[in-house]
Symmetry: C2
Subunit: 199 residues, 2 copies
Amino acid sequence: MAFSPLVDQLITALRCLPGVGPKSAQRMALHLLERNREGGFRLSQILDQALEQVGQCQSCRTLTEEPICGLCRSERRDNSLLCVVETPADQIAMEQAGGFNGRYFVLTGHLSPIDGIGPDSLGLPLLAERLSQGVVQELILATNPTVEGEATAHYIADMIEHLPIKVTRLAHGIPIGGELEYIDGGTLSRALAGRLPMV
Amino acid sequence: MAFSPLVDQLITALRCLPGVGPKSAQRMALHLLERNREGGFRLSQILDQALEQVGQCQSCRTLTEEPICGLCRSERRDNSLLCVVETPADQIAMEQAGGFNGRYFVLTGHLSPIDGIGPDSLGLPLLAERLSQGVVQELILATNPTVEGEATAHYIADMIEHLPIKVTRLAHGIPIGGELEYIDGGTLSRALAGRLPMV
Ligand SMILES: [Zn+2]
Ligand SMILES: [Zn+2]
C-alpha cells in the first residue's frame, strides 16, 4: 500500500530536484498538501512561467527572461574587461565577491567531448565575434580550476591568440578541484585581484 | 546584482519546500532551467493538479484525490480493528511495517490548543460517530510518543470510555537492533516495566 496515485506522482515529480531522495520528496509533498497549498500553487505557477519565459541573454548567454540581461544593458560597466564564467551561478558569485566592473560571458558549461559539448554549445563563435570587434582589452578566463575548466580556458586562449587582447586567469588561492559557486567572497576577490597573464 | 527577476522569484518560491535554504533553492532553480526543463514542467503540472484535486478521504481523512481512499474501499481489511495515526506518513509507515490488517483514521495532527488545533480540527466527531456504530472492537491509538501525541491519545480514550471498545497503545521498548548503551533512560525504563516472559 502506498499513497494515492496523484500523491505518488507528486512525490516522483519532486525527485527531479537535485539532492532530493525518496524520503525528502515524500516530506515535501505532504508538507505542501497538508500545510502550504498556497506556497505550492505559487511554486507551480512561477516554475511554469520561468520555464516558459527564461532563456539566454543574446549578448552574454546568462539566464534571463529578457532579450538582453540587466547587466549587459547597464551603462556603468567597463566594456574593455570581459570575464568568462562557466555558469550563471559563477557569475553571481563573482558579482557578490565584488571587485569586478566589466562584462561577462557565460559559457553554460565547459568543453566535454564525451558529452558532445563542443565550442558551439558554449557559444564560442559568439565570443570570438565579440572579441574581434576591438573593444575588449582584457579577457579574464574564470572557468573552474578543474581539468575541464582549464582545458576550456586554454581552448579559448588559443582561439584568440591572433588578437591583441590580454588574457588572464584568476589567481591561485582557489582550491584545486573547487567550484567557484561555493567559494567565499573574500577568497574570490583576492583571486581576482591577483589574476595573472595566461601563458 | 542578482539573477533576473523571474529566476529570483523561482528561487524564492522553491523555499516553500521544507529543508530548502537559499543555496539549495538557487541550485534547484538553475538545475531545472539549465538541465531539466522537461522535469520542471512535469513537476509544475503535477503539483498544480495534486493541489487542486487531492483532499481528504471522507472515511479515514487520509490524503486522496478520491472521495473514499483505496484502503477504505478495500474489502480485505478487518473492520473490527481501527488504528488512529497522526499523519498520512505515519499510516504509510504502519503499512510498510506490516502486521496490521485493520482500518485507519488519520487525525492530520495532534491536539495543540496554542495553535488552535482542537478536537474538531482532528475530525474527532467523525471518529466518535464511527466508533458508536458498534463495528469497531479494538481501537489502537498509534499517535506519537510525544507529550502532544500522548495527550491526544488520552483525550480520545476518555471520549469513548462509555463504549464497549478495547483501547490499546503501541508498546514502548527497545528498537530492534538497538544497543542498550545508546537508548534513552525513559525508553529503557518503559521497556523494563513492560518486560515479557521469555519463551
Ligand atoms: Zn547579458
Ligand atoms: Zn480512507
